[in-house]
C-alpha cells in the first residue's frame, strides 16, 4: 500500500473509533442526532446503490422501512421475540415480502418503475392502516416491558441502539464498497448504462436486478425496524412516509453526488446541518431544501462531491461510477 492509502486507512480508523466511543463523550441529544445521521446515511447509501449504481430508481423504499418497522413490532409483541433477535428477523421478513413485490415492480421499467414502487408503498401503508391488532390508522406503541428487557437502564439501551445503528451504517457502506469493486458491482453499473448491451455481454440482468432489489429491501427493513425501536411508536403515516424515507433520502444522495460513496456522506452532513438550523421554519424548511437541490443540480450535477472534485481530484472510496 502507498503512503496515501495508509493515510486514508488511518483516517478512516480514527473516524470509526471516535464514532464507536460516542456513548462515552456524547450527550443524550447528540447521540439521538447521531443515530438519525447513521440510519439516514445507511438509507441514502442503499438508495444510491439502487438508483446511482444500478439505475433502478425507486421512490418506494418507504415500503421496506415501514414493513421492517411493523415486522419488528409484530415479532416483539405477538411472537414474543426479544427485540435484539427481532431486529435481524424483521430484515429477513422484509426481504421475503420484497420478493413477490419485485415481481410486480419489475414488470415496469424506467419512470414507470419509479412510480410503481411508490404506488406499492402506498398500498402497504393502506393495508397496515386496516389491521386493528396493530392499532389501525392511529398506530401502536411498543410495550414498556419489552423495551426495558433490551438492556439494563435507559442509557445502556440508548448506547445499544447507538452501536447497532453505527454498525448497520458501517456494514452498509463497506458492503456496498465491496460489492461495487466485485464483478457484481461492475455488472450492476453495466445494467444501468445500457441494459441491452449488458445482456449481450452475458450479464444475467434479470436475476441481478432481483437480488439487488431484495437485498436492499432487507437492509432497508432492518433499518426501519431499528428506527421504530428508537421511536418506540409506529403509525402507518410515519412508517410509510414518502417524505421521510424517499424524498429526504433522495435529497441527500443527489446533493451529495449520486453514483459515488463519498457523495451521500457529504449530502447527509449538509442535510443535518440544514435541519438543525432550519427545522423551525416549518414549510419554508422544505422549500429551502428544494431550492438548494435545484441550485446544486444546475451548478454541478455531480453534487457537492463533484464540486470538490473540480477543486481537487481526490477519492476516498475508489468506486465512483457515473456518466
Amino acid at each position: 500500500m502507498s503512503i496515501q492509502n495508509w493515510a486514508r486507512l488511518g483516517l478512516l480508523i480514527v473516524a470509526v473509533a471516535i464514532l464507536v466511543s460516542g456513548p462515552y463523550w456524547a450527550s443524550r441529544g447528540t447521540m439521538r442526532l447521531l443515530i438519525e445521521v447513521f440510519y439516514f446515511l445507511a438509507l441514502a447509501q442503499l438508495w444510491n446503490l439502487l438508483a446511482g449504481y444500478s439505475g433502478l430508481i425507486s421512490v418506494g423504499q418507504q415500503a421496506f422501512v415501514g414493513l421492517g418497522g411493523y415486522a419488528m413490532f409484530s415479532l416483539a409483541m405477538f411472537a414474543g421475540v426479544p427485540i435484539l433477535f427481532a431486529l435481524p428477523l424483521a430484515g429477513i421478513l422484509t426481504a421475503l415480502i420484497a420478493w413477490p413485490t419485485a415481481f410486480v415492480a419489475f414488470r415496469l421499467s424506467g419512470p414507470y418503475f419509479a412510480i410503481g414502487t411508490w404506488v406499492i408503498a402506498e398500498v402497504y401503508r393502506l393495508v397496515f392502516a386496516q389491521i386493528p391488532a396493530l392499532g389501525g390508522g392511529s398506530g401502536i406503541s411498543l410495550p414498556a416491558g419489552l423495551v426495558k428487557a433490551m438492556a439494563s437502564g435507559r442509557s445502556a439501551r440508548e448506547s445499544l441502539i447507538y452501536w447497532i445503528a453505527l454498525a448497520i451504517m458501517l456494514v452498509v457502506v463497506l458492503g456496498i464498497w465491496i460489492v461495487m469493486r466485485s464483478r457484481v458491482g461492475l455488472s450492476l453499473s453495466a445494467l444501468r448504462d445500457n441494459e441491452e448491451a449488458a445482456v449481450s455481454v452475458g450479464v444475467r440482468t434479470r436475476s441481478l436486478k432481483f437480488v439487488i432489489y431484495i437485498a436492499t429491501a432487507g437492509m432497508t427493513g432492518l433499518i426501519g425496524a431499528l428506527i421504530f425501536v428508537q421511536k418506540l411508536r409506529i403509525t402507518p403515516e410515519a412508517a410509510f412516509s414518502v417524505t421521510d424515507w424517499s424524498v429526504l433520502v433522495i435529497f441527500i444522495v443527489v446533493i451529495g453526488g449520486i453514483g459515488t460513496l463519498e457523495g451521500p456522506i457529504l449530502g447527509c452532513i449538509l442535510f443535518f446541518v440544514l435541519r438543525e438550523y432550519l427545522a423551525d421554519l416549518g414549510a419554508w424548511y422544505m422549500i429551502i431544501l428544494g431550492t438548494i437541490s435545484v441550485v446544486i443540480m444546475l451548478v454541478e450535477p455531480r453534487g457537492l462531491w463533484g464540486l470538490i472534485l473540480r477543486w481537487r481530484n481526490i477519492t476516498v472510496f475508489p468506486v465512483t461510477r457515473r456518466k
Binding site: S189, D193, N194, A197, V201, G202, V203
Partner: protein, 244 residues
Amino acid sequence: MSQSNQTILDARGLSKSFGALKVTNDVSLQVATGEALGIIGPNGAGKSTLFNLIAGTLPVDAGHIVIAGRDVTRTTAGVRCRMGVGRTYQIPKPFDGMTVLENLLVAATNGGGQSMDEATASAIDILDRLGLGELADTQASQLRLLDRKRLEMARALATQPRLLLLDEIAGGLTEQECEGLVATIKDIRAAGVSIIWIEHVVHALLAVVDRLVVINFGEVLAEGLPQETFRSREVQEIYLGIEA
C-alpha cells in the same frame, strides 16, 4: 453429431417482421467452425437485424438457430453470449459510466465466465492488441467515435467468443488503421474464433473472409467465394446502383 463439431452456427429459415415490413425473409446461414463469413448488402437490407436474431437480441418469428449443436432459438442473448456468441453493435453501446477496462471486465467475468484476476489479465491483453491500452482508465463516455468502435470489438472479444459477430467496424478508418484491423481480425480467426462480419468497406472484408453472403431486401441474394460473388453481375448491379 459430427456436424455439431464442425458447424458453429446453423440458422435455417429465419424470418422477422416489424409490423408489415418483412426485414428478414427465410434466411439460412451456416458457418463452419473456424470459418470467416462476410455479409454485404445495401443499407436497410436487414443485415443488422440478422445479427440481432443470431445473437438473440430479437426473437425470430420463424426459423431455427443452432449454435455448436444446441438449438438456441428460444434462448436469450445472455445465454447465447455465455455459450460463446460475441457481438458488436453498429452504433456503439458502451457502458458510459465505466472505464474502458471496466467495460471489458464486465464482459470477461459474465460472458467469459472468468474470475476478476483472469479477466483483468485478458482484458489488458485485448486492449493492447486493439491499440486501446493507453485508454484503459479513460471513462467510456470520453472516447471519440473510432475508439468507441474499437471498444465494441474489445468488449465482444472479452466475452471469449467462439463465434464473433462484427457489425461495420471498418467505416471511417484510415487506410493504415484498416490494414491494422484486417491483421487483428486475421489473428482472432487464427486463434480459432469463427467470424461473421458485416461490412461496407468491401476490400477489407474480402481480405479476410472465406465466403461471402449478399443480402438484399431481407433475403439471401447470392452466396459463394468472396471475389466471385462480389464480381457477379447481380451483386455489381446492386452496388453500382447505389454508388452511381
